[in-house]
Symmetry: C2
Subunit: 492 residues, 2 copies
């Protein structure tokens, strides 16, 4: 196992160097003074070049070839599979394309900032076309190397092993019932009466509450921390996980749910097996599985009546008793469903419709069935069909609202919905294994929740591919059944 | 200038990579959770190896040789001189010695932690002997390479161009008057009456006051910040300077003076010429000049009656009015002189005696005139002579109190006193150039102070060697006259 061991050593080096850039990135988002941004950008770029050289070192290819002839055990074989996947992804594109993409993507997303504000689709289109053409070129090169279809070869970057045919089954199924279900929920909620939250909440007290809830959820403060940034994220390294949120004096619920969401991501990272921490094998399985952990925490657990009941005393202890903290009232605020043009404002019922629409469009864009100029018309049709919203002419709150396509991130959107479905399927399985789980959650006992996720997801890192992981955890491949049942039971 | 330009490019790379490790170091001191320390140490070590490889790349030697035959202007010649100095310092030691030192130094300083507590000189001595032997070996190699004496070759690491003969003049002079002066000040202060500070001060309010005083001193918060750490320091990079302090509820003065001190270091760093920021030429001149800036801020400026008067309103605005904030009372607290066994607790009158003692001992240690086992006896004799303190048998508050020698840092101590003298000499010159400077300081106008330092020290970075820098700034080489006058005028 000489070659395999040399590979391991090389990836330890990469892991250590990634540690440096991860911490510097967190500093940049939370602590860096504004005037240092140019020096920081230069430092990060220099380090990025160095790290890229080390990650794409030709000796890795030789070692992979030699290791394939070595006598490896099950774990080592899985490890080699993941090294190969990551290495191929990083090396397959010619430097000229990477550079052209980097230029086109930053040109497009930079200009997008202003163009979005002025609703300037015409100005945006030529930039987007350039980004799309390069992404199509990327897809064709990746596709030739991994024998996947064009769109699947991009999807594979975020969801290894997931294919268009799997997604088509999922989204076609969603399409058949989600628009009606959404309409029914909204009709039902029309009759709800509850008190709106008009209080203001001290930011420092909100921070205190956030930390209390993170502790309740099992976040390990010995190996992580929470800070503030403009856009909430979970970063750092498994040995030092940094989450962030932002605070709004008029809305403590949004920052609190942000914290619960990121604590889901963080729990996954903090509990990845330490024996493989420096290997691709030890990384999170996929974007979708990562998102399933944050959505498990935020949606399945965090917005459940039982969880709210368990953290209500912490809320009251922090802010004093208020009438809006009455359980039924909190429940109604936490599960309000509203149709909206904006994806990031969407609740768990309407969110999948936003993704469905984007998936259908980006798939056809990469497969060259439609062109960038066709996007607005398709957007309008689908918004009407899935959410009954008239989006005509309102590009800035329509097809120009997201940063993903401007940065060439085609194939990324489906992960959000895969995360929702996975979270629901896992929670459904947990309820079968532990019939009294809701009672435990209500009583503030999350040990069984964490054990279940640890055993089925966290401990397994990237040892199995996604389908196998889901079968081992839930007895079936990913499907929409449990998500549908979850929405019906919570909202109808 | 092809070779010189290639050198410049290489040092830009090093500067960018140093940025990464500087920010990660700051994170480690202020933010890192405890449980992440092993992963962090591995990451820093890995990065250190990489950075060392790049800094000692053999191609630098070739480029230096070629650049020496190029047609360089004055600045480029100075830049090449500094590159040569830094490169030689980094490359002259064989890797085997560096490794042996690293092991011996960490063994010694690790064991010292406990040995100091238990006053265990006998246990400490063999470790220190090992460290000393390796430092002597280092000195002999450096000495052969730069034609300096053994001790001077170590001194040159911290104080380029300063030699034993310069220090002997300075310390012999100090020895001739400082012990008497100290005694006279203490006698004089015996008759002082003032109110001791028995209040407690909210830490958040202390932080607010610190920020107000930093703004008053001209710290640029657009390119830096202040945080908390166990040991105050000034770190980061010139484009993003991080200072830290620690807070004590019972003593706001100590954290405030810590902040004033570090703001002196930070002002130097923030104002180094941006055109040379990535070159050795653009770095601070020496440890002594760096310390002169912090001591200028803390001692010359910060503890002056005029400065205290200018920040008194900020103190009262922050904590409310208290009787101890009466100006005469504050003055007396801020300029109290006490003989102490402990260097880091010393005031500006007694501090130099602590350094004098260490300088005399470490010089003879490196020059093999005495052995490590002779230290305690010499320590006792000199403590008696310079500070009239009986230190016999109290190793932990005597020769075992500092971390410097345990880590092989011989040649570092003199920088503290060079800093004190330089600060006094600069302030004395400033008073000649701006006779009303004390009035300006009292009125809260520090523009002339900063202009003077910027013009004479900050703008010049490492363009000139120390003697030339001092002559240009003050018309004379460094001497003890101004420091003596300063102490006499403030304390007698």
């Amino acid at each position: 196992m000489k070659a395999y061991n040399l590979l391991k050593k090389h990836y330890e080096k990469i892991h250590n160097l990634n540690h440096m850039s991860s911490i510097v990135y967190c500093d940049q988002q939370s602590f860096m003074p504004k005037g240092s941004s140019t020096a920081r950008a230069n430092a990060m770029a220099e380090f990025g070049v160095l790290l890229h050289e080390i990650s794409t070192d030709a000796k890795i290819a030789d070692l992979i070839n030699n290791a394939e002839n070595e006598n490896l055990d099950f774990i080592q074989k899985a490890s080699l599979r993941e090294i190969k996947r990551v290495y191929n992804q990083e090396t397959v594109l010619p430097a000229s394309l990477v550079k052209a993409q980097s230029l086109a993507n930053s040109k497009c997303s930079h200009a997008w900032g202003d163009q979005r504000v002025t609703n300037d689709w015409k100005g945006f289109l030529p930039n987007l076309e350039e980004v799309l053409n390069l992404s199509r070129e990327e897809a064709s090169i990746r596709s030739a190397s991994n024998n996947l279809s064009a769109y699947d070869s991009l999807l594979d970057m975020y969801e290894p092993g997931v294919k268009t045919k799997d997604l088509d089954i999922i989204f076609n199924d969603l399409k058949s019932w989600l628009p009606d279900l959404t309409q029914n929920v909204i009709e039902k909620q029309k009759s709800y009466t509850y008190e709106e939250d008009t209080n203001t909440y001290d930011i420092n007290k909100q921070k205190e509450l956030g930390i209390k809830v993170m502790k309740h959820l099992g976040f390990d403060f010995n190996k992580g921390r929470v800070d503030t940034s403009n856009h909430p994220f979970c970063g750092g390294v498994p040995e030092d996980v940094r989450i962030t949120t932002r605070y709004d004096e008029n809305d403590f619920i949004s920052s609190l749910m942000g914290i619960v969401h990121e604590t889901g991501h963080a729990s996954y990272e903090q509990n990845l097996p330490s024996a493989y921490v420096s290997l691709p094998l030890g990384h999170a399985r996929s974007m979708g599985i990562h998102e399933s952990q944050s959505l498990f925490f935020e949606m399945q657990l965090g917005r459940s009546s039982e969880f709210l009941e368990s953290i209500r005393p912490l809320i009251i202890e922090t802010f004093g008793n208020k009438t809006i903290f009455e359980l039924d009232n909190l429940n109604k605020i936490y599960t309000r469903v509203q149709k909206s043009k904006i994806r990031v404002d969407a609740d768990e019922v309407t969110y999948a419709s936003h993704i469905m629409l984007r998936y259908e469009i980006e798939k056809d864009l990469i497969n060259k069935k439609i062109q960038a100029r066709d996007i607005p018309e398709l957007w309008d049709i689908k918004m009407k069909e899935y959410l009954d919203i008239d989006n005509k002419g309102d590009y800035k709150n329509g097809c120009m609202q997201d940063v993903h396509w401007t940065e060439g991130l085609f194939g990324y959107f489906p992960s959000y919905t895969l995360g929702s479905l996975t979270a629901a399927q896992l929670f459904s399985r947990l309820k079968i294994e532990k019939p009294n789980i809701n009672e435990s959650i209500k009583n503030g006992n999350l040990a069984e929740v964490r054990e279940f996720l640890k055993k089925n997801i966290w401990d397994k890192a990237s040892i199995y591919e996604t389908n196998e992981l889901m079968i081992q955890a839930t007895g079936e491949v990913l499907n929409t059944k449990h998500f549908k049942e979850h929405l019906e039971s919570r909202y109808l």
